[in-house]
Symmetry: C2
Subunit: 209 residues, 2 copies
């Protein structure tokens, strides 16, 4: 048994289904310790994947009216709540890390098998379905959720004078190219993201390309 | 103008409704900096109100089947996503802090007026409605959401050997009394919470009463 699967042996867990669910819900607490490559808006520290996931649910709630297609917000929220769970094992893969992105699929699939497998089989299957829908990005809800997931770091990085992008030598044109899904998911944001990048170049924070 | 309402004057915000929404969504990033009186499951640090809100959405997703009454999960998620926003101004009020609880209503109402007021009026009204529904705890969804909100810290505190309760001299009987809503919202958890507290007393972590 992997020690991580039962980090709290002293808990008088209920038997059966409820016990499985509660152990899973304690296991996923570890997402609060997964660091992302984005600083908080106030620059005080890097954000973690759990608080990021919460932020996305709020962004989705208040920007859903601008989605390219009407979306079922409940489905969007489900995807956003679970989309980063695999990072508990696989870690956060920086969008601009080509090497990391090459192995991301396999690492995250292994993580999904272990983490989702802690749940009762029917809930594990539902969770896998939500995560796969997000990952495939084909449905209206998944496209919107992916757009929201990209908007948050672009905005937070700008508020930090694009420090993370600059440190990694990522030019404005690449930020735009890698995040084109924002404007596809939420057309009203297309010009905004372009203007953010133009401002970043004008202020000398980023190269153009 | 309160400096906190425009902490990022350099952003080329879009005009109108979208600009208001984006400013609000940056403002609420501050919830990631609001500390709670609960340590993470691994004990490494205190959790913040944003990652806590995320954790609750997952708990709700996987325990909804045990709710005392059938619940509309979308409504529950909406409440959980926004229930702590007022803490950006009002701070987290410890459940066992009688004095703080006496002033909580007024402090949180003022916070709601300022923070929700950053949104377009129709969205501010929807948000106020969701938050008030949670706070009143009368609907099936609000009762379930409140139960979930109480379960998380009871479980996380137990995993930390009830350190926070012990430091504040809170006996097991008081934890049970203040959290009776957990068993009312999710009957299957009633015995579990009792057993947690019995174990905490047996192990010498908490006094009985």
């Amino acid at each position: 048994v992997d020690a991580r699967e039962d980090a709290s042996p002293e808990v008088p867990w209920p038997a059966g289904r409820l016990g499985q669910q509660l152990r899973f819900l304690v296991e996923v607490d570890r997402l609060k310790g997964v660091q992302r490559m984005t600083r908080l808006a106030d620059g005080s520290r890097l954000e973690n994947a759990a608080e990021h996931s919460w932020h996305l649910t709020l962004i989705a709630l208040f920007l859903a009216e601008h989605a390219a297609c009407p979306v079922d917000l409940g489905r969007v929220w489900g995807m956003l709540a679970v989309h980063d769970l695999v990072e508990i094992d696989a870690g956060d893969t920086f969008l601009y890390d080509q090497k990391g992105r090459g192995t991301k699929g396999a690492r995250e699939q292994a993580a999904a098998d272990r983490i989702f497998g802690l749940l009762p089989a029917d809930q594990a299957a539902s969770l896998h379905e939500l995560w796969s829908e997000f990952d495939a990005g084909q449905t209206a809800e998944a496209r919107f959720a992916n757009g929201v997931d990209r908007l948050a770091p672009v905005l937070l990085n700008f508020l930090n004078r694009c420090e993370i992008h600059r440190q990694h030598g990522i030019p404005a044109a690449r930020v735009l190219a890698e995040n084109s899904i924002i404007g596809e998911a939420v057309p009203a944001l297309k010009d905004f993201v372009k203007e953010l990048m133009a401002a970043a170049v004008e202020r000398g924070w980023l190269e153009n390309d």
